[in-house]
Amino acid sequence: MSVLVYIEHADGSVKKTSLEAVSYAKALSEKTSEGEIVAVALGSISSDELAKAGSAGASKVIHVNDDKLSSGIIQAHAEAVAQVYKQLGAKTLILSKSSLGDAVAARLAIKLDAALISNVVDLPDTGSGYKIKRSIYTGKAFAETVVNKEHKILAVKKNAVDLKSDGADAVIETVVLELSADNFATSITSTDKTTGDILLPEADIVVSGGRGMKGPENWGLIEGLAKELGAATGCSKPVSDIGWRPHHEHVGQTGVKVAPSLYVAVGISGAIQHLAGVNSSKCIVVINKDAEAPFFKAADYGIVGDAFEVLPKLTEAVKALK
């Protein structure tokens, strides 16, 4: 038997969150004795890069090296993964929550007649039955869920388990699949994406700015600190609504949900809807000139002060650390 992991790649590298999913599968299999960890990757990517999934715990990577799958066409990805899953005779599919992963997993649940559990934050309890803990109410609570189906798809939230990096390279097996034309009924005409930047949902450190930053011309201060910290940049909803920052940086209830080790919030009041997107962060730092800002109640560390004074000093202090 084996556990299948759907791994995604971007800009020629396997996504870090996908490697976390591999490590989750490894830890799961050690608990449930479901055998080896097999990853499936779709579209063009180098074998050397795929072999790295081995370090996270996979023993084999099935590579469907079909260029038609290089872009994330939801239906086609779901069909390809379903075929690989069935050929393998797996009972569990693991993937990391993402824009594409969520959409693909939903179709797979029907194709595989599987129970799909999303936002998984821990390994299942298999003592009696199959119980699993997932995050609900946008991080404000957890639900212990009993899964009653033989086939299971678990969409894992960031930081559910630690990323492993001690495995040997994985064996790569290239396969060709028959995918009928109706799986390609949607076509991707173009993509508009930042490259080289650290992606917000993947980042270990996030620096976010709110309306307190006064205008887009001041974002150099946020980016400066982010650069020193190796962080991604985020923002509050009004900031992306007014167009100071692109929509994909909007953090919160109606935006991206992040789970970094460190979240630095600058000039953000801490409305409950913003907090909903950051409450899974390990450590929260708030910089706000108003000592009464609600964000301080959700913070681990705080500085009451003007962002325009504090940010340059903080950036220098981080630089001095190196």
Partner: protein, 245 residues
């Protein structure tokens, strides 16, 4: 052209989340229920499309009788009629089965809903419905235009967006900025009272998963404040105490 918008009935985003009955039930006391914010974006876009294309617009909720005020609000915003599948929305698969059954009877050209509900955050109902109906499903959609039989969309991806095209019929999970939330006006509220709201029985229950208990995250300790003239201290704490640098 027939449009279906599926809406959830969920606690207001400012609600304090609490549980009762030994942590086995959501505690509704003092909680105000709203149309899910993402569903509200889907509905707003559907109302625009209805006006632009002369389409019909039906709203659907899988839920018990308490969700009817939420459906009435959707009618006030601009839907023509409403359907309530009279059952507790047990899990995503169950809800998707109910939606697919209604859709099969009525042949909608476009099925919109939010990218996810804000209670269970599954984000899977649109994909499940698409697969059950053999239609493409796209999510999270932040822009959607219809030209003849072609749907042009932008989908948010990590670090940007991708532009897609597909033919109707189609299922889409929506998010901002697909349209601006619409606030019902007085005329809408008056007319919503007499618009048809049909109650139908559910299909048989599936039993894929079941919540047995709820839990709140541990309470956060008090914030440690650092003087604004001593930012080096903050960096030291992050490195040595929190160990995040």
């Amino acid at each position: 052209m027939k449009i279906l918008v599926c809406i959830t009935h969920v606690p207001d985003t400012t609600s304090k989340i609490q549980f009762s009955d030994n942590n086995t039930k959501f505690d509704k006391s003092g909680v105000q229920f709203i149309i899910g914010p993402y569903d509200d974006y889907a509905l707003a876009r559907a109302v625009e499309l209805k006006e632009q294309l002369g389409a019909s617009l039906t709203v659907l909720n899988v839920g018990e009788v308490e969700t009817e005020p939420t459906l009435r609000k959707a009618l006030a915003i601009g839907a023509d009629d409403a359907i309530r599948v009279n059952t507790f929305p047990k899990d995503s698969l169950f809800v998707a089965q109910q939606i697919a059954a209604i859709a099969k009877q009525n042949n909608y050209d476009l099925i919109l809903m939010g990218r996810e509900s804000i209670d269970f955050n599954g984000g899977m109902v649109h994909g499940m419905v698409g697969e059950m109906l053999g239609m493409p499903s796209v999510s999270p959609v932040m822009k959607l235009e219809i030209e003849g039989n072609t749907v042009k969309m932008a989908r948010e991806i990590e670090g940007g967006k991708e532009y897609l095209e597909a033919k109707l019929p189609l299922v889409a999970g929506c998010q901002e900025p697909i349209a601006e939330w619409k606030i019902p006006n007085m005329r809408g509220i008056m007319s919503a009272r007499t618009k048809p709201l049909q109650v139908v029985d559910p299909l048989e229950e599936s039993n894929a998963s079941e919540v047995i208990s709820y839990q709140l995250p541990p309470a956060k300790g008090a914030v440690k404040l650092v003087d604004k003239d001593n930012v080096e201290e903050l960096v030291r704490l992050l490195k040595n105490e929190a160990k995040v640098l």
